[in-house]
Amino acid sequence: MTEVSVDFSPALRGTEQSAPLLQVEDLRVEFRTRVGVAKAINGVSFEVNSGETLAILGESGCGKSVTAQAIMGILDSPPGFITGGEIRYRGVDLLKRTDEERRLVRANKIAMIFQDALSALNPVFTVGFQLAELFRKHRGMSRADAKKRSIELLDLVKIPAARQRVNDFPHQFSGGMRQRVMIAMALALDPELLIADEPTTALDVTVQAQIMGLLGELQRERNMGLILITHDMGVVADVADRINVMYAGRIVEKAPVYDIYAKPSHPYTKALLESIPRVDLKGQQLNVIKGLPPNLTRIPAGCAFNPRCRYTQDVCKADPVPPLHQIQPGIASACHFWKEVRGE
Amino acid sequence: MSDINAATETVAGAPTTSTAPAPAKDSNTAPAKERNASLWSDAGRELVRNPAFMISLGYILLMVSMAIVPWLWTSRDPAICDIKQSKLPPFTGDHLLGTSVNGCDYWSHIVYGVRPSLLIALLATIGITFLGVTLGVLSGFFGGWVDAIVSRIADMIYSLPYLLGALVFLTVMRKSELMTRSQNSQVVVIAIVLVILGWVGVTRIMRGSVLAAKNLDFVHAAKALGATNSRIMFRHILPNAIAPVIVVATIALGSFIAAEATLTFLGAGLQAPAVSWGVMIAGHIQYFFEYPYLVLVPCGFLVGTVLSFILMGDALRDALDPKLR
């Protein structure tokens, strides 16, 4: 197969190196299913720059993975549809580009790591095949060269005996090693932006730390932008620069990582922080968030968090949805009562 | 494809996995029963609205009425034939579908030919359902050596291509008194052979269902409360596992009718003077090119019947599968 991408060194047509790496502007996604339309993302905006780590935090079903898939352009459609907004990579709105152009952005410019490496890797091909495929199809390399590069990559992600293991199948690796393979695969074509969707959720705690350490190290070396999607506040604290907290398809709080831990500005963030078990509060009752995340086909009017929030007043229960109040440069909260939440 | 095991697997693959209902934490039988009641009444409502099912059901009811009271459908005796009036075309005189090569009224043969086919299918289906459910429940519930024996025998039978096995046995039996004495005796022998070679599919489905049901919480709970084995089987497990068997049985009715006709066509099934669609087809095959309707008319009725049963089975499966709603 002769691929158009044999020489991909010229960047995507119309990009400007000076523009921010990735800007998402008012993104909206909905899933049209038989039971109704689920509004998965309702106007999400954020920005990531080279060398920076943005964490997107939220419970399962809040739309964080959907955001990642929308950026990658791998949303299952149908049922998923992007109904509005822009996704700008170096100033170019990807949503306005052809499928072929978007395909070439994937892996070359923006790459992704998935949560469960066992199911995300194809069980019937060797790890080497799945890595080499990238070099062969995107760079037009020979089988032998591609295999050599694959071994180098496995070395890079610190898989021992890479030369032998390149011929192994995914199920022959341990969970942590498999996730390293996923990372190697994502980094193969030197992308500028890496999206990691719950990269450590399926792993043991000790392995989690190793993988996060590796990711951070590789990111610094290559000055990549990193979007880290997680529900785990512990993971975020060590690596992220900034945090966006999502709830029911919207961003409810944005802040640098230290500020969020020190002084959350949204009741939801605050509740999340309080629900982490802490050694110094041993013996006390753990604060869990009451209720369940809303059904995305019937999101409550006003602030979507109002049925579970202890600050709720009548204004929260009616539209419009509270806007993101700019509190300080870099800190914003979508709560009418952010002052009370911050204790100011 | 008249292979019952293949047919049940291609058509009825879904229900085995889908009938395991949401686990009920409650230990008494009420929730299981209620759930089943609503499953069946929901399914009933859905089936009534399904045109394919209703048309098929109507066709089958017509055929069943022909089998039970054939004299209401034709005033002629199928045994009275006039060789001088052989191979008359349809609509001649009072012969609605013309006459056979022996000058028998073709319509009366069609009417009287339903009974043996339906009877074989019905007996065989009852047989495989009874045998399959019993063996499936026993081997699924008790496991161990019961399971080992049943599974090994099932494997053996499964390794013998279905029709080939029936063909060999019936050919050897063909001249025996059992196969020449009367139509009813032929019917019973063919049905028994079909059962012996056909029970494996139902057993495997049932065994799977029982294994799945065994691990549901309410079964554990019933066990913990000291319910007896038989009570657990009949009150808790069977109601949950029976839906896929009903689907398979419906489809099996169609497959057995096809199997009987195929065996008869090959000369190993029913033999004249028995009257059946298969006999009609086999008896006129040598006149096929000159008088194609003599073959095509019974073929048409045959395909209609088989198709109806299979469509009904398909509709039943869709209606009984809560996941598809």
Binding site: L121, L134 | V168, T171
Partner: protein
């Protein structure tokens, strides 16, 4: 893989013995209930007792157990297998002796003359089933609810509902006779097409062309099942995580379907293709009979017609052995295709 192969081989022997015993028992019970099948061979004539006895002994049917209903005739079974001596010599399946017909022609000889025809139509049937079935199934699975999806769904139900012999008769009447007769009046149509391909029966002058239609009829049997299985398998795999990964790797749609989805989807399909050979065994009796192909199926038909039980048992035994061998090969192939089994 070694352990899997050994286990499978060890299971093979009892399965073969069990299945052959089942066949042996069915026929023995048949004879016990019917009486000496040799008598039936003479039709209305009454042969002298000496003749009957001589033939009976020659055919190996003189064992007294064949007169007591329900007796499993174990001794006879071992003799037929060639594991116990009969009249002082070992001659059974193991020694390549599958019995003789009434004129003492070896069953192996009958089969070897007929086999090439059956192999040819089986090959045609297999190709029809595999190629059309897989293509139709992939097209149907790729677009669930699309046109091909309905074609496959309806086709499956129809093929299951129409007995093979009805299908064969219909094709013979409408394609080979009606359409063929018209073709034969057209002067521009070459004979190989009008008389060979669209002939109503096998003709020695067109050894391959006149086998095509019987082969296609035979292939239609399994076609629908293959298409349906491929369809469900493709649908399932398209939702798999590793397909999303393949898309995230920026691979072309063709490669995502053709390599990453198809390879995985075909594992169950290949198994099914192997098993459809069983359907061919019985189907061939019918199609070869209808189209008058002098193959193995036709010999079975002849044996049924003439009441040659020993020929029927001999051929059936060979077919069952062939079938069991094929299932064994399919199982081993399965291990080659699915590395998860290989390394169990």
């Amino acid at each position: 893989m070694g352990r899997y192969v050994i286990r499978r081989l060890l299971q093979f022997i009892p399965t073969v013995l069990g299945t052959l015993f089942l066949l042996h028992y069915l026929t023995s019970v048949g004879m016990q209930l019917t009486g000496n099948p040799v008598r039936a061979l003479f039709g209305d004539r009454t042969p002298s007792p000496a003749t009957v006895e001589a033939i009976t002994r020659k055919l190996g049917l003189d064992d007294p157990c064949l007169k007591s209903p329900g007796n499993p005739c174990l001794e006879l079974f071992w003799q037929r297998l060639g594991l116990a001596p009969r009249n002082g010599t070992f001659s059974g399946y193991l020694q390549g002796d599958f019995g003789t017909n009434l004129r003492f022609r070896e069953v192996t000889d009958i089969v070897s003359t007929a086999l090439p025809y059956t192999l040819k139509i089986t090959l045609i049937a297999f190709l029809v089933e595999a190629i059309i079935g897989i293509i139709a199934g992939v097209l149907a699975g790729k677009r669930s609810g699309g046109f091909m999806d309905y074609v496959v769904k309806i086709g499956t139900v129809l093929v299951i509902s129409v007995p093979v012999f009805v299908l064969g008769l219909l094709v013979q009447l409408f394609v080979s006779v009606k359409f063929g007769n018209w073709l034969r009046t057209q002067e521009w149509v070459p004979e190989v097409i009008s008389r060979g391909l669209f002939g109503a029966a096998y003709k020695i002058d067109y050894p391959f062309a006149s086998l095509v239609i019987p082969g296609v009829v035979l292939g239609l049997l399994g076609l629908a099942a293959t298409a349906r299985l491929t369809r469900t398998s493709v649908q399932e795999n398209l939702r798999a995580d590793f397909v999303r990964t393949a898309r995230a790797k920026g691979l072309t749609g063709k490669r995502v379907i053709g390599v990453h989805t198809l390879r995985n989807s075909l594992i169950p399909v290949v198994t099914n293709l192997g098993l459809s050979v069983a359907v061919y065994l019985t189907g061939a009796i019918i199609t070869e009979g209808i189209f008058n192909v002098p193959g193995v199926g036709n010999q079975i038909g002849k044996a049924i017609f003439q009441g040659e039980s020993m020929v029927l048992i001999g051929i059936t035994t060979m077919l069952v052995l062939a079938y069991l061998t094929i299932t064994l090969l399919v199982d081993l192939l399965y291990a080659v295709l699915d590395p998860r089994i290989r390394y169990e």
